[in-house]
Symmetry: C2
Subunit: 208 residues, 2 copies
């Protein structure tokens, strides 16, 4: 588990208990009112055990609500659109969960002023997400659906960046029809970028 | 100016002074340390004059850094891609300004817990942005570039939602090459959504 510090073995029951308790308390009292003291008391662990694992309440809550769940295995549906739709549906279920919707805006605000948390977010959570896009793009190139590879970070941004803005910045309701539209648009966008960067020898021509 | 409350005439020099001072102080001390008292003192106005205009520091800073500048006139470049590229370049210049980058994450966090600010953000700032997309889409439909209209809110999300996530959630550097890729991808995405919702009589078929 890449979030363990320094690679020391740790009691995974304690890991689980802390994260489970954090999720329960976010559901009960909300993220703003959550404290590390509450989590320690209810989980029956010392605060030191929590601070050995997480530098702050924000990081603990982030891992509990957004990072802890493993990514689903890649769907390999046989098409770029199918793979992206399966991926965005899985992410939507996680990102739209009540605890995630409560935490994410506060986390966004903290990432901007906490470089250590931002680095951890980038190196673990974001890197894992982008790797899922890299796999899907590689398969689409192998199938001949894409003229060449597209930056996974850009693909990630087109699909999950839009979804994150909808959920966490604009506070929109997001249903499956909208998620499906996002997958359709991201698929077309990724194909267009592959054409733009690989299909045309100049590489920088504008479409249309 | 739609942000004036109740339509009463107001001293526009005071408006300007408050917003200009807010921008200066955000540049000097940063958004977290900014106070309404500081703005009132340096602008030479009473706090009451500020609170008649803005319900909170967040709202004042939002108007000063993100809302105050008028939208550029629509570019009407003759193509959907050209219009979207002109639009996203104009927004990027504004959204990536240092004061906007400082404020936006804090604003995102406050929007989630301040329904009044969220309503004002939606009804003024967001509505204006989405209207610009509605114009561009209407022109593209009239030119025959799109099979039919696409929800401007979705078009907005594809282009500026992705950009907002890049700037404010992931804290990425964003250069003109990336902005151009975003415009290319959003154009293809909007065309695909028009095809999906209008090109096929079933209207719900998956592409590919």
């Amino acid at each position: 588990m890449e979030r363990q510090r320094g690679g020391r073995p740790r009691d995974s029951r304690v890991d689980h208990k802390i994260l489970q308790t954090t999720r329960e308390l976010i559901d009960e009292v909300g993220y703003p009112a959550l404290t590390v003291d509450q989590v320690a008391a209810r989980a029956g662990v010392g605060k030191a055990a929590i601070y050995r694992r997480y530098a702050s309440k924000a990081e603990m809550a982030f891992v509990a609500t957004m990072h802890e769940q493993q990514l689903p295995p890649p769907a390999d549906t046989g098409s770029l659109h199918g793979d992206l739709l399966a991926l965005v549906r899985a992410f939507h279920a996680r990102m739209a969960a009540p605890a995630a919707r409560q935490l994410a805006p506060a986390l966004i605000s903290e990432l901007a002023v906490n470089p250590e948390l931002d680095t951890r977010f980038t190196d673990t959570f974001l890197a894992t997400e982008q790797a899922a896009f890299a796999d899907i793009i590689e398969q689409a190139v192998a199938r001949g659906e894409l003229a060449g590879p597209v930056d996974p970070a850009m693909a990630h941004l087109l699909l999950l960046g839009s979804l994150a803005s909808a959920l966490y910045v604009l506070n929109l309701p997001v249903d499956d029809a909208m998620v499906t539209d996002l997958a359709t648009a991201a698929t077309a966008g990724i194909v267009a970028l592959a054409d733009r960067h690989h299909g045309d020898p100049g590489g920088a021509a504008e479409p249309g």
